[in-house]
């Protein structure tokens, strides 16, 4: 039987009105501005851009404000927004080697050309809450030093020159770049699709998956070859213009993980690699991404794929927090009719159970 349920409209409207009121909070407290969010909660903005898969700081800040700081809700809002705009095309691949680095560290080589540059980092802080930040804190001006004009080549490129590390896979001639926003996901998925999936994947999920490989579920013996954060220029070949047009710069974090080596009768042993790349300053995300990228290469590298992080269908099907939250949270929407039918079935089964277990005396009396 189908039962139309109506009558929630007024309640929904009033609930949203109440939400808007709660979002604003105590109106004696100053309203937060989008500039305040982009400037002072910049890493939240970076995460929403990465997982919302849309580089636009102002929109990410608006989403964070609208979502009351719930970042997965904000990511959902950003994903929905991107569906409203036409796509002009795809950029030229960015050159992370030409990045204007603001941070660049290697855990494998102390002396790298361009040096170890710490930049703005939480590393080496004592993780003690700082009461002076509570109000009116004015930071010291940054220390300045003469800037070097020496290039900062990727560490993996340096290792690659000696053949100590596998080279990156070249694009196959005429191969198109997979896009999971345009085509449904099929398995096995190529590395381009896997990296796209991981780049927009949930940081917490990837962190847990990466951590699991370190704890032995798909161990691959990682070292951080390099992490770099900074700005890269973006170019777009606009057909009407006829050349690659500069669009401006975006901030990116890149992680090159150097992993256990492999070799064979025909190939000299060399280190293998995992790769992470994300919008903004997203170190934990790119490190986790690189660990999982490497784990997902198990089959390609002839390793036994037994752990969850090595199972691409498992990882790629569960990494997206918008899909995940949609399916988990839909459980709270009305399921009255479904539940009524389950309830009817359960009552019937319980009656049958009661009849079957009735005292023998009653059965005999009945006969």
């Amino acid at each position: 039987m189908y039962v139309a349920v109506k009558g929630g409209e007024r309640a929904i409207e009033n609930a949203h009105r109440l939400l808007a009121h709660k979002r604003r909070g105590d109106q004696d407290v100053a309203e937060i501005s989008l500039d305040q969010i982009t400037e002072q909660l910049g890493l939240a903005v970076d995460r929403v851009m990465s997982e919302g898969s849309l580089y636009d700081r102002e929109l990410a800040a608006l989403a964070i404000k609208q979502a009351r700081g719930d970042l997965i809700e904000a990511i959902f809002l950003v994903r929905a927004f991107r569906a409203t705009l036409p796509r002009f095309g795809a950029s030229e691949p960015v050159d992370t080697g030409a990045m204007r680095v603001q941070r660049r560290v290697s855990a494998t080589f102390k002396d790298i050309p361009g040096g170890q540059i710490l930049g703005p980092t939480f590393d080496y802080t004592h993780r003690l809450l700082d009461p002076s930040l509570a109000e009116g804190f004015v930071p010291e001006a940054p220390a300045m030093a003469e800037a070097s004009t020496a290039p900062t080549p990727r560490v993996t490129d340096i290792l690659g020159r000696d053949g100590l590390i596998e080279s990156s896979p070249e694009a196959e001639d005429g191969a198109s770049v997979g896009d999971l926003t345009r085509e449904p996901l099929n398995f096995p998925a190529d590395r381009d699709l896997r990296l796209q999936n991981l780049a927009r994947g949930d940081e917490g999920f990837l962190l847990a998956m990466g951590y699991s490989t370190q704890r032995g579920y798909g161990r691959n013996h990682p070292f951080v070859g390099e992490i770099r954060f900074g700005e890269v220029e973006v170019e777009f070949v606009a057909e009407d213009v006829g050349f690659a047009v500069p669009l401006g710069a975006i901030a990116l974090t890149e992680c090159q993980m150097v992993n256990q080596f492999k070799g064979s009768a025909t190939e000299a042993p060399c280190f293998t690699r995992g790769y992470g790349l994300a919008f903004g300053q997203s170190e934990r995300k790119t490190m986790s991404m690189a660990l999982v990228d490497r784990a997902l290469r198990a089959r390609e590298l002839g390793e036994e794929a037994l752990a969850p992080a090595q199972d691409e269908e498992f990882v790629m099907s569960h990494s997206d927090n918008v899909q995940a939250t949609g399916f988990v949270e839909h459980l709270k929407l009305p399921h009255y009719v479904d539940f009524q039918s389950e309830l009817g079935l359960l009552r019937k089964l319980r009656q049958e159970f009661a009849d079957a277990n009735a005292p023998d005396a009653m059965k005999e009396a009945a006969e």
Binding site: L54, A90, P120, G248
Partner: protein
């Protein structure tokens, strides 16, 4: 290099500067020029560009995620057509870049645009980048080895 290629390189270099400027800064500098008649060939339009990275930084390309982009096209009365593309959703900025690009191609305005608009904005951009590079350089690690014991 042919004249066409030279002009293309100059236009690209100008766009690389303009994309980093604010719409207000470009507009303020354009006010110093007595602008020729021009019209929108394409009104400003917002859209998306899929940003690509490379596997391992130098390998096959993959789709990283999209960015908002605004674009516009402007035509001068003398016929030159300029294009403006920029990250973000500032249609007015895209239109101003397109106008500068059209002027840069014009015999009458090419040098003036470079001198009055592009060169000062480039100098400003270089100052900003230099300051950022100097603040970054101060966080570079100077390793030294502790000498222990005697000789």
């Amino acid at each position: 290099m042919t004249q066409h290629n030279t002009q293309q390189a100059q236009r690209k270099a100008a766009m690389a500067v303009l994309a980093h400027a604010e719409a207000g800064e470009i507009a303020a500098r354009l006010r110093n020029l007595s602008l020729p008649d021009h019209q929108d060939l394409r009104a400003p339009e917002n859209g998306l560009v899929m940003l690509r990275g490379r596997v391992g930084g130098d390998g096959a390309p993959f789709n990283l995620g999209e960015a908002t982009v605004s674009r516009a096209a402007v035509r001068l009365a003398s016929g030159e057509v300029g294009f403006g593309y920029t990250l973000g959703r500032d249609g007015e900025k895209a239109r101003l870049i397109a106008l500068c690009d059209a002027l840069a191609q014009s015999r009458d305005f090419g040098e003036e645009v470079e001198r009055e608009i592009i060169a000062p904005l480039r100098a400003q951009l270089m100052v900003t980048r230099k300051q950022a590079a100097e603040a970054t350089a101060a966080t570079k690690v100077d390793f030294y080895t502790m000498v222990r014991g005697e000789g």
